[in-house]
Amino acid sequence: MKVSDIFSYAFGAIRLRKLRAGLTTLGVVIGIAAIVALLSITQGLQATISEQLQTGFATDTLIVSTGGGFFMGAGAVTAAESDFNLLVNYTEIIDEIEGVVTSVAVIEKPCYIKSGEREFILAVVGVNFTKYVNIYSSTFVAESGDIPLNPENEVVVVGKRVSDPWKNGTIFCNVDDAVEIVWTNASRLPPRNETHTGHVAAVLKEIGGFGIGPSDSRVYIPTSQAQSFFGTDECNSIIVKLENDDEATIESVSEAIDEAFGGQVQVTSSTAVLETISSIFSIVELFLAGIAAISLLVAGVGIMNIMIVSLMERTREIGILKALGMKSRTVLAIFLSEAVIVGLMGAIFGIGFGWVLANVAARIFTGGGFAAAGEQGAVGGEFAITPIVTPTVMLGALGFGIAVSVIFALYPAWRASKLKPVDALRYE
């Protein structure tokens, strides 16, 4: 029997039982849709994050921090429990190291920012503007106003989302406005609110995302002001700009810094962070795909169940086919073809449905971030996920859908092919 005849015979059998075939296919559709939706969202998310991180932080930078892990434990955590504190003036030590262009200390504290009737909780970051501009020359750029290179103490620079939190032109603060920064000093008893009135000198151009470098939803003040306002010489991290982003340079400078501080600091390279993120995503992706795959397995069991029932109903038909001289392997092929058709249709509809699902989910996610967090404020960026359905995902889903259907159809198909013609014909 010709392959095309086998398929058309199988298709005819499926068409006869539309509802049953439809429900069986639905199982595959759901399984494949879940896989496609989850994979395309994770991949879209990963692409968005990686892209924003790459623009947000230059690959020729290192981040020096005290132990505990700068980014989800990337690298060593040896200094985690020590009393070691990173001080602002350690940049002088780092600047001496060969391969380092410059370094900047970052002091970061959550504060209330008030302007008029409104207030937000935001991260206030104290940095040396000159150095910061040098390191993040593509992102720490003013959209309006100017970033002063030798700033007065009361100067502040705000991110785009601080200026325009709702993205609708309702301005929270603009250049030349005064903002009140309130910090609760809990290191003394009773805790006291320290207030500092800043003068907005510049609004940054929109950066997007939530990079490690400059962010849309932060307020920047000069280092000296941060030191006196927060009453500390400690900094959260030191960003180091390297001469280049060669692996050798990254490694030698990392080692030199580590040595200079007696192994009490942790040095993380941007590249390492990116790698860590992408490896985390791989795990998440695998995990989610695994969960979705379970639903496909359930669909497979459904296929098997339906085929066994249909096998009983069609015993007589199989007997007729065999009496007409059909070979066992052709009977097997007919039943497997039915599974291939169900799997194929399920996969095609599943991919389409999954794509729709991913886009709907992406719509829900998008528009989150700072603005959605509303008056409460939040230190977060805002980003849009574009679900990515790669050809690999599509082909994989197609193959997986068909494979699961066929694997679960193997046993019923084999049983059908093994029926004895005389018994099958007598079957009532």
């Binding site: 007409l324 001289g325 066992s328 392997r329 005389v422 014909l425």
Partner: protein, 231 residues
């Protein structure tokens, strides 16, 4: 024994024992049968005489417990399942309950036999139309079995059985499930096919009238052939 002309079908000491639970039932107890080309043989017998068992053995749908079936001199017991399937392609089955595929049209059912043979679409279409014309169903060939009468269904079944140009037609109570007037028409058709086209035919029946239309008849009782007559 010298066989001058190889018979289309020959059985030698054919025996079949079923296990009905734990009790062995001897359905056939040694049947010797010879059918030459162009013959029209009726196998008569009451129910339980073993005629259906004999039919499934000579149709190579089942294997005998003892004895041999030769089809054009080929010993069926030496063949693999695949070769048996091939052998069945040269036998035309007609069943009492028609056994048509309900979802296929009359033509589709006839074409199915040819599709199993691996024939192309155009060839199948032409062949099926010719066969349905032969059995007098040209006008009804796009109807499904449910839309056809019993006699019409049996005609489709005969056309289907002829579709692989069989060595012989094997009919199991072909008139058992239709009224006597239609039954006569069917028998007339079979007779005509036998006389005009030389289709070798074996009919299993318990109906005396049908049997009398054949060239030859044998009577079975308790798994043995007890009487052989030329009409």
């Amino acid at each position: 024994m010298t066989i001058l002309i190889t018979p289309v079908l020959q059985t030698i000491n054919l025996q079949k024992t079923y296990m009905l639970g734990k009790i062995p039932v001897e359905a056939l107890r040694g049947v010797d049968l010879k059918v030459e080309k162009g013959d029209f043989l009726a196998i008569l017998g009451p129910s339980g005489s073993g005629k259906s068992t004999l039919l499934s053995l000579i149709g190579v749908l089942d294997k005998p417990t003892e004895g041999k079936v030769f089809i054009e001199g080929v010993d069926a017991s030496t063949l693999s399942d695949n070769q048996l399937a091939d052998l069945r392609r040269s036998i035309g089955f007609v069943f009492q309950f028609f056994n048509l595929i309900p979802r296929l049209t009359a033509r589709g059912n006839v074409e199915l036999t040819m599709a199993i043979l691996g024939l192309g679409k155009a060839e199948r279409r032409k062949g099926a139309e010719e066969l349905l014309e032969t059995v007098g169903l040209k006008e009804r060939m796009n109807h499904k079995p449910a839309e056809l009468s019993g006699g019409e269904r049996q005609r489709v079944a005969i056309a289907r059985a002829l579709a692989n140009n069989p060595k012989f037609l094997l009919m199991d109570e072909p008139t058992g499930n239709i009224d006597s007037k239609t039954a006569n028409e069917i028998i007339e058709l079979v007779k005509r096919l036998n006389e005009e086209k030389g289709v070798t035919t074996i009919v299993v029946t318990h109906d005396q009238n049908t049997a009398l239309q054949a060239k030859r008849r044998v009577r079975m009782l308790d798994g043995l052939i007890v009487e052989e007559k030329v009409n």
